[in-house]
């Protein structure tokens, strides 16, 4: 073992914020379905607490032995709307049960208060979606997601319309707490079923009974690698540097995933090859783009740099792990990324540029704070546009917007912790109401017809 390599790893952890962002246990709740909601909740609580009981101690032990921080321990479950379909009870009871589990286990988040309605609603979906604002108000660890479109199914415009209002309601109900409810809700197109990242994690029905998924992080490490490159180095050299770095980061994720799987006796699922930023200075995806030669993230060239970054991360990571999954790509959550926050504050980075960036990176319009008076139809329009990008490009896109109730452009919200803080961004308020009111479905595009 070369001394140089040992010191390189230690520097990555100490100075460049290399960490395992999350170990997430996915747990199927299909065997907890019961027409009596109280019985169902009892089964849910028993199963989650039994399977995930050692998650936090095992993660802490791995962290101590290997010297690598494991920032979050999370649980994802089968979309709760499936359980709702079997019972007439109030879905909030499931949310409160999940919250109790999170507190008992000491996990950071529990995801899966979700519904998949890309083609249409079941009665369970309808009730779950309507309960989301109250569920997120009454809980602090529960995360919610709704899939409203896919390349195969098209876009459910009725759901798009409803989710605009639901996001507003989430913010309204939590307006005394920085509108935090909306930060725990994400609207997806092409939602992955094995995503370990929040707020969008849920355990898909095609998954095993339980599974370990790992999300790595390392924007700081990639930025540090690029900082060493000459300012005149061509782009392909930068891509190569990113690939090498992504390989190393992912190998660590793979190792931790396999270890956690052995220790917990739960099969290993996937490594999510994502660059997930945190609000800490030096742990920013925007700073990687700026290291490539942009004065500020959002300048022309940003989309191209991000496309290359996203692709190079995958190319480097894919050989380092046995199974890739989840979202796998660079995240651009504005309030969670110090560079994005600065770029948004300066006005260089706007919603339109962010929308273009979402066409080439892993998620979508993420953690963006918008004016409190943004009408639901405008939010629905943003969701529809993002979903269209995802549907046509056969990729995941998502919308996590936080309407800052009672605040205007230029003011700021501060969520604290990993969710960060950020300025309220300007939104194009031109009316789209007639279009959003039409409802119906946007048919699946031609590229879905691959059979």
């Amino acid at each position: 073992m070369q001394t140089q390599q040992i010191l390189e790893t230690i520097k990555m952890i100490d100075e460049d914020y290399l960490d395992i962002r999350t170990i997430t246990i996915g747990i199927s709740l299909l065997d907890c379905i019961d027409p009596d909601i109280h019985a169902s909740c009892r089964k849910v609580e028993e199963k989650i607490c039994r399977i995930a009981k050692d998650l936090v101690p095992v993660a802490e032990e791995i962290s101590r032995t290997y010297g690598i921080p494991i920032v979050n321990k999370r649980v994802s479950v089968t979309p709760i709307s499936l359980l709702c379909s079997a019972t007439q009870g109030d879905p909030i009871e499931y949310a409160l049960t999940l919250e109790r589990c999170a507190q008992k286990l000491g996990v950071d988040f529990i995801g899966g208060y979700s519904a998949l309605v890309q083609k249409g609603y079941t009665e369970g979906d309808r009730r779950l979606i309507r309960s989301i604002p109250q569920a997120l108000k009454q809980t602090s660890h529960v995360c919610s997601s709704v899939n409203i479109g896919s390349t195969k199914a098209g876009i459910n415009m009725n759901a798009v319309k409803e989710m605009g209002q639901i996001i507003r309601d989430c913010a309204e109900l939590t307006k005394d707490d920085n509108c935090l409810g909306a930060a725990k809700l994400v609207v997806f197109c092409n939602a992955p079923e094995d995503n370990p990242f929040m707020a969008g994690a849920f355990h898909g029905v095609g998954e095993a009974d339980c599974v370990i998924n790992v999300g790595v992080s390392g924007p700081g490490v990639v930025r540090a690698a690029l900082a060493k490159a000459s300012k005149t180095a061509p782009m392909d050299e930068l891509a190569d540097l990113i690939k090498r770095t992504a390989f190393k980061i992912t190998r660590m994720g793979q190792m931790v995933g396999v270890l956690a799987s052995e220790k917990l006796g739960i099969p290993f699922g996937i490594v999510d090859l994502s660059l997930a930023p945190t609000p800490a200075i030096g742990d920013s995806v925007a700073h990687i783009l700026e290291e490539m030669g942009l004065s500020t993230c959002g300048a022309y060239g940003t989309t191209a740099c991000l496309a290359m970054l996203n692709d190079a991360v995958k190319k480097g990571g894919v050989m380092a792990t046995s199974h890739v999954g989840g979202l796998s790509g660079a995240f651009i959550p504005v309030s969670e990324d110090a560079g994005m926050i600065d770029a948004a504050r300066s006005g260089v980075l706007n919603l339109e540029k962010l929308e273009a960036m979402t066409a080439v990176c892993s998620v979508g319009l993420d953690m963006i704070i918008i004016p409190g008076d943004t009408p639901a139809s405008i939010i629905s329009g943003i969701i529809a546009d993002e979903a269209a990008i995802g549907m046509v490009n056969s990729k995941t896109t998502a919308v996590r917007l936080i309407p800052a109730v009672g605040k205007k452009v230029g003011e700021e919200l501060n969520f604290g912790g990993l969710l960060g803080h950020g300025p309220i961004m300007k939104v194009n308020m031109a009316s789209n109401e007639i279009m959003i009111d039409r409802g119906g479905r946007i048919p699946a595009p031609l590229q879905s017809l691959k059979n």
């Binding site: 073992m1 001394t3 101590r64 690598i68 190792m255």
Partner: protein, 88 residues
């Protein structure tokens, strides 16, 4: 289990002796040592066999604390993390 102990700090007499002594106290066998001093900064990596250590966590935190008390950065990490990251 093999562990890598790294020590970084200002150079002075007795760092290697102190770390090696602490290892002996925990029944940790030193397999390989490499050290450099550049501009007065002492950097050492030590490969050790920790298979006789009962509680690795407390050994690691003891070593880190020992480092802090002596103005050194000491880390004890399972060697597998370095193998995983740097070998194909």
């Amino acid at each position: 289990m093999k562990a890598v102990i790294t020590v970084v700090g200002s150079d002075r007499v007795g760092i290697l002796a102190m770390i090696a002594n602490a290892c002996a106290k925990y029944d940790v066998n030193v397999l390989d040592v490499s050290q450099t001093i550049v501009d007065g900064i002492f950097t050492m990596t030590m490969i050790t066999d920790c298979s006789k250590v009962k509680d690795f966590g407390s050994f690691a935190s003891f070593m880190e604390k020992l480092g802090q008390e002596n103005s050194l950065i000491v880390r004890v990490m399972n060697q597998n993390i370095f193998d995983a990251m740097h070998t194909v």
